[in-house]
Each structure stands twice: as C-alpha cells, then as structure tokens.
C-alpha cells in the first residue's frame, strides 16, 4: 500500500543563499564586494524550508546535488498527486501549488552547486 519514497529530494543549502548575479531578477538581490548576491527572490525564500532536512551529505534524506529542474519538479509533483503516499514529502507537497513547485525546482536546480 505504501510506496517506496522517491529518492530525489535534497538541496545543498549553504549554497542557496548566494547565487550568480545573472539568474536573479533585478530588485530581489543585493550585491556584495565579490559580485555575489544575496538572493531575496520569492523562490529563494520558498526554498528555505528544504534545507532544514536536505543536506549535501545525503543519507536517509537524499541530496539533490546535480539534479535538473525537471527531475526535481517531477518528483515533487509525484509527491503532491500520489494520494496514497504517507511520507513526510507527500504530506508536505500537498500544501504547495504547482506554481510553487515549478519555482522551487527551477531555483534549486540553478542554485545547488556541486
């Protein structure tokens, strides 16, 4: 009845806050002396929840390093739509819209560095 959880969820969070200038929309970032920006965009803030559990080391909660936005999105959408699922990710994704999931997936794929 309970399906095995998809191992496709982990974000190296210490890299989330600082990302390349070019990818973030103007007005949502602040530049420091090295040219890096603190990303204050809505997707960056939405993704803050992820890093409490998902670290780069993986383990029982997988790391997402190297995942594409499509991989992340499909996994999160699966959790959201799988009505029989009882995992933490199932319960959590039911509270996110598809637009949220798109934004998080794109953001994480771009910001998680190897």
């Amino acid at each position: 009845m309970l399906k095995p959880s998809v191992k496709l969820t982990a974000f190296a969070l210490f890299t989330l806050l600082v990302s390349a200038c070019e990818s973030a929309p103007a007005g949502t970032q602040t530049e420091d002396a090295s040219g890096e920006v603190a990303d204050l965009s809505a997707p960056a803030i939405l993704a803050l929840s992820c890093s409490g559990c998902h670290g780069p080391q993986g383990g029982a909660i997988a790391s997402l390093e190297g995942r594409t936005s499509d991989q992340i999105r499909l996994s999160l959408l699966h959790y959201k739509s799988d009505v029989d699922g009882g995992s933490v990710m199932h319960r959590m994704m039911r509270g996110y819209t598809e637009a949220d999931i798109d934004a998080i997936s794109t953001y994480l794929a771009e910001s998680v560095t190897e």
Partner: protein, 425 residues
C-alpha cells in the same frame, strides 16, 4: 514607487555608517554597515546570525550567548534512555566565529528598545540597528507549588539539555527494578509538543529492557496531545504493561510537588515517584520580557512575514519564544524562522517590503531505539497570521509496516545531522 524609495532612503540613512548607495539601482545590503545583534545561540539565534552575515557581509553581526557550548534538545531523550552519549548533543560557535560573527560570551540582561541598546551582565552596552531575539523558553518556577530551581535538582525537568539530561539519566539508572517513574506534562504551549511522549516511549523502552517490573506514569495537564494516535498505538504494541497516562480530565494535572519525599500531587491524589521528571509550565525567555516584546500570555506576538515584534519596532523574535501557532515550538521551526527572518531583515534594509511565503515544519519522535514517527505542517503567512494550508501536513500513517517506522528513524538521524550542521557546523 517614490514612497518606497523614500522609505528605503530613510531606513538606510537611519543606520549607522551607511556607505554610498545612491549610485546603485538597488542598495547593496552587503554595503550597509548595519549593526545586527542576535541574542541566544540555539537553533534560532545561531542560524539567524549566520544567514544575516552571509546576506550582508559588511554588516556587523554579534551573537550574545553566555554558554560556550550548546546542548541540543532534539535527540536528548535518547540520552535519557541510555541510547546516546550527551557529547553528541554538544555544539560550539567556532564555525560562526570563522564566518566573521562576533561572539559575545555574556548574558543579555536588558534591552532598551528606544535607545536601541542591549546591556550584558559584565556591564557593557551594545548598540543595534536591528535586534533578533531568540531567547528560547524560561520555566514558570512556582507555577507548580513547590517546584522551584532547587527542586529541579531532585526532580529534574531535563527540558533544557545538558546537566539536567544527565541527572535524569542517572536517576533512572539508580532506580531499582519495580520502581515508578512519573513524567509531569505542563499545559500548552510548551517547547516540543511531542517531546514528553517521545520521552515516555524511550524511558519505557529502557525499563522494559533493563527493569521490567517498573512502570511509567504520565500526569498530563493536557487532554489531547501531539501525535496521540501514533504514541498510543506504540504504547499498546510495545509497552502494554509499562505506560499509563492520566489526562487533564482524569485529574492528571500536577498542582504541587514535595521534592524531598518524591510526592507529586494532583487535585485528586498524591503519588510517590521513585523518579520524577517534572516538565514545568513555560514562557518566553526572560530577556523577551525585559525587551518588552512579550505580551500578557508570557509569549511574543510577531508579524509572520518577517517575525518582527508587533510590540517593538526594530526587534524581531524567532523560535520557541514566539506566538507562531500552528507552527510548533521546535528546532525545525526556529531554524526556518531564523532563515526567513534574516532574509527579510536584509530585504527591509534594502528598502523592500517582505512578501508572503510558505513555511513548513517536520518533527520526528522516536517510539523505540530504532523506530520513529513524524508530524509535518505546511503554513502560509499571507493573511497576517500563520495558518495551516488545508489538505496538507499530518502524521505518519497509523497502519504502517515496520520498515516505515525504521525509515523515519533513519530520516530523523539525517535531519539531526543536517540541521545541526546548518546551524553550528
């Protein structure tokens, strides 16, 4: 547009040592030499300090924390049950220092929200432009008659990890087989809502394994409790002759104690415990009251967009001290609130208004040495309060194969590793 710019300009000019921003299309937060002070080095405060410094590298970030070591509460119930060493709960601030955060190893004793200064025990005064309070909880000594600080040496609370954790462990080890352990649970709200029941489960595991004639009684000031169906199922399956619980409507609330004789009294009866764990009623840490950010409930009302105090401008409050229900008082919540607060302070100092977002919480609780369950919540802060998103969150499945419980125990360990790494590592 114009107003926003003026607000931004006013804000920036109000800060000390602001460097040139006029030439930039958007103010560089990294160039704002704001004085940012954080009080409290737990999961909330240490995380806030780190994320403030990373978002605004040129700002001065000061963390005021009297203890050189921090003992984490999550997983400390495993220590009490003899399944884990206390040393694994200990964390320090060297990594924060290495990132350029000033650690003031002193206790904050007062806050002047008008002058915007923090006084510390040694007599120094620290000015701030933005203050983040993450003071955690204090106990309401005396709320249970006879339960004061001295009583905690005989009837440990073990609700702040460290020596109290060890004391309760040693009492359990010293107890003879056939003894009675009593856990007194306070009325909500308190730190870690499922914590007393995880503790009961793990102590029951220890008793069943090492002192099988012993029993555990929960005297509870609550009727209902977190993860109740999951805990009750586990107690019935794993510890059927060990754990008994009296809820509030069964006269479970402890009203007084006599520590020297081991007596806990409800309105109905006096019970003599061989080991008594009294988790006292709680309120926001003392400095929150000094700062004027706590209300008559003893807790701190906040604007959930940025966790700014609704009572004092330029002070933000995060973690257990806040009124953030339905977000629970958990390490996960404190860590997430800290990250959100740090980025929103950065936005505010850059002249941007905080936008609504979605927040989460996940708490794991052990049922035995290698099984666990979880509760998850998803919240929106869009309407001026924190509200659960309908149809989301909830408990681990009630009917589940052992592998599910084992997996969640493994996830709990990974979570602990990740969140302590993000906070202190």
């Amino acid at each position: 547009m114009t107003d926003a710019f003026l607000n931004r300009r006013d804000l920036l000019l109000s800060l000390s040592g602001v460097t040139a921003f006029a030439a930039l299309p958007f103010p560089a937060a990294a160039q704002v030499r704001a004085r940012l002070v954080v009080i409290g080095g737990g999961f909330g405060g240490a995380t806030a300090a780190r994320f403030l410094k990373r978002a605004m590298p040129s700002a001065s970030v000061t963390l005021i924390e009297p203890n050189a070591d921090y003992y984490a509460c999550p997983f400390s119930n495993l220590v009490i049950a003899g399944m884990r060493d206390l040393s694994k709960q200990r964390f320090g601030y060297d990594a924060l220092k290495a990132e350029g955060i000033d650690i003031v190893p002193d206790a904050a004793v007062d806050v002047d929200p008008v002058a915007r200064t923090v006084s510390v025990k040694s007599g120094d005064t620290l000015p701030y432009d933005k203050l983040v309070l993450s003071p955690g909880i204090d106990f309401r000594w005396g709320a249970i008659e006879g339960y004061d600080k001295a009583a905690a040496d005989l009837m440990p609370h073990a609700w702040k990890a460290g020596p109290q954790t060890v004391l309760l462990r040693k009492q359990l080890e010293a107890m003879e087989d056939g003894g009675l352990v009593v856990i007194s649970v306070p009325p909500a709200p308190f730190r870690c809502p499922p914590g007393p029941y995880e503790r009961a489960s793990l102590i029951a595991h220890y008793l069943k394994t090492h002192k099988p004639k012993s029993r555990l009684l929960i005297l509870d000031a609550q009727d209902k409790f977190s993860k109740q169906p999951l805990f009750e199922q586990a107690w019935s399956d794993l510890y059927p002759d060990v754990i008994e619980r009296y809820g509030a409507n069964e006269f479970g609330r402890v009203v007084s104690v006599a520590p020297a004789s081991g007596i806990l009294s409800t309105e109905f009866e006096d019970i003599r415990a061989d080991v008594a764990n009294v988790i006292p009623p709680q309120q926001a840490g003392a400095i929150a009251h000094k700062a004027g950010v706590a209300d008559m409930t003893g807790w701190c009302p906040i604007d959930p967009l940025s966790f700014s105090s609704t009572l004092q401008p330029d002070i933000h409050v995060i973690g257990d001290a806040t009124i953030a229900s339905p977000m629970p008082k958990s390490a996960f919540s404190a860590n997430l609130q800290a990250k959100l607060c740090a980025l929103q302070i950065t936005a505010i100092l850059s002249g941007q208004a905080p936008e609504p977002t979605t927040l989460t919480n996940t708490c794991y609780s052990y049922l035995s040495d290698d099984t666990a369950v979880s509760i998850t919540g998803v919240y929106t802060n869009a309407d001026g309060t924190l509200q659960s998103v309908p149809g989301s969150g909830g408990l681990s499945p009630l009917m589940a194969e052992d592998i599910i419980r084992h997996n969640e125990a493994l996830q709990a360990r990974t979570w602990f590793h990740t969140i302590t790494g993000q906070t202190f590592g």
